[in-house]
Amino acid sequence: MTERVINWFKYASPQTFYPLAGRLIPWFWALAALFGAAGLTIGFLLAPTDAQQGEGYRIIFLHVPASWLSMFIYLVMAFWAGIGLAFNIRLSGMMASALAPTGALFAFLSLWTGALWGKPMWGTWWVWDARLTSELILLFLYIGFIALQAAIDDPRRADKAGAILALVGVVNIPIIYFSVKWWNTLHQGASVSLTKAPSMAAMMLWGMLLCALGCWMYSIAIALMRVRTIMLERERHTDWVRSLLDDKG
């Protein structure tokens, strides 16, 4: 059995991870396109019109996945940042900084689509509701992380400082997720949960889950692409990057 165990630590080095990421990226792009197309087809063509909200509800097919991912990516980012801080691995710091812009994008999309949905449904673009406010704080945290890393020239120090900030900010994630339960405000509760039957039509649920998978695969693909360029930039003085670039001419 022992020889079948894959040595995962092998891929903790940029030199071995770079080609692996390069091989994986097309697959994740393909999956993203597949899930995205399926989800949007169900969402816009097959799912029934909502009895109360009319056609306007269809924005949830982007809004809910974007909100999920904005929180989930922050957790993943903080996880990599923590690993990098604890074990001093270069690649984890690079992963964290590669994920941050995608997370910020999804946090922004979540707020933006929420505003577009809120105008016809609540009659206002924005309310100072607990969940909206904490999602806004999440966007600020992403921006703070990116700004801090951009301001520090030494990449190793930037990684560590960003890691501490990311870990401090993790406090916000449960607050966002449970805000709707804790404070009974305008934003409705979760429609999907693991413990009870979802309070929405099965077709809508499938569309949403497929869209979420699509966004997820897109995030992985784009983060891997970004981490590849970060690797090249930071390791440009090493032999493997030189030989790689020489091979390409």
Partner: protein, 222 residues
């Protein structure tokens, strides 16, 4: 442990007392920012009374932030910070001492000034009491959380603006519950729930914040 804490606090207070202009400047910043609002939005007492808790709390946030860079910058420049980091005692404890000293110098004066400014906004006596109490409970959290940002931006270019970008989002809960306590008193709901949450934030902030701060200082000193 306590001797160390007392020594750090005493040293920081003595240093601060030798540069009183800094403390006074931060206090006047607080007074000026608060005084700008009645000029900007008009002097109707009803409106001012409604705005007072939020305005005073936001001004307190900004005034605290103004004094944060001083927390470590001077010690970093003259090498004291490296000596402190080399000390056998845990760096987190030293940071805790510095946070307490920072609160005594930057937070406590705001608490003392707040009732005078509250009167300018025509706040009733019970609301003034809660305002002072909420600032008294909340400002230690501001010093504690701010220390993390101050340590992360130590010696970074454009540190001041970056500091506000990092620290202000983390201040939002303190602001919500602090101003919320006064609001609840004004509207007759009673401030207990807000003050309890504020107390929890302050205890959590002062207790936990020194450790990430110490980690950030070690990163900055590498």
């Amino acid at each position: 442990m306590l001797t160390l804490l007392r020594a750090v606090i005493g040293r920081d207070l003595r240093l601060a007392m030798r540069r009183q202009a800094d403390i006074v400047a931060a206090m006047f910043f607080f007074i000026i920012v608060v005084s700008l609002f009645p000029l900007g939005v008009g002097p109707e007492p009803d409106q001012l009374r409604r705005m007072a808790p939020g305005v005073l709390w936001v001004a307190a946030l900004l005034a605290t932030m103004l004094s944060l860079p001083r927390l470590f910058a001077d010690d970093h420049r003259d090498g004291t910070l490296e000596q402190l980091a080399l000390a056998p005692q845990p760096l987190g404890l030293i940071v805790l001492g510095k946070v307490i000293a920072h609160w005594l110098v930057a937070g406590l004066p705001l608490v003392v000034l707040a009732p005078v400014l509250g009167v300018q906004f025509d706040l009733a006596a019970d609301a003034l009491g809660v305002l002072v109490l909420s600032l008294l409970i909340g400002t230690p959290a501001l010093s504690g959380i701010g220390a993390i940002g101050a340590a992360l931006t130590l010696g970074v270019r454009g540190g001041g603006v970056l500091l506000s970008l990092l620290v202000l989002p983390l201040y939002i809960p303190v602001l919500i519950f602090g101003a919320g306590a006064v609001d609840a008193t004004v509207s007759g709901l009673g401030p207990q729930a807000h003050l309890s949450l504020l107390g929890a934030l302050a205890l959590g902030g002062v207790f936990f914040a020194p450790w990430p701060t110490a980690a950030a200082l070690r990163v900055a000193l590498e």
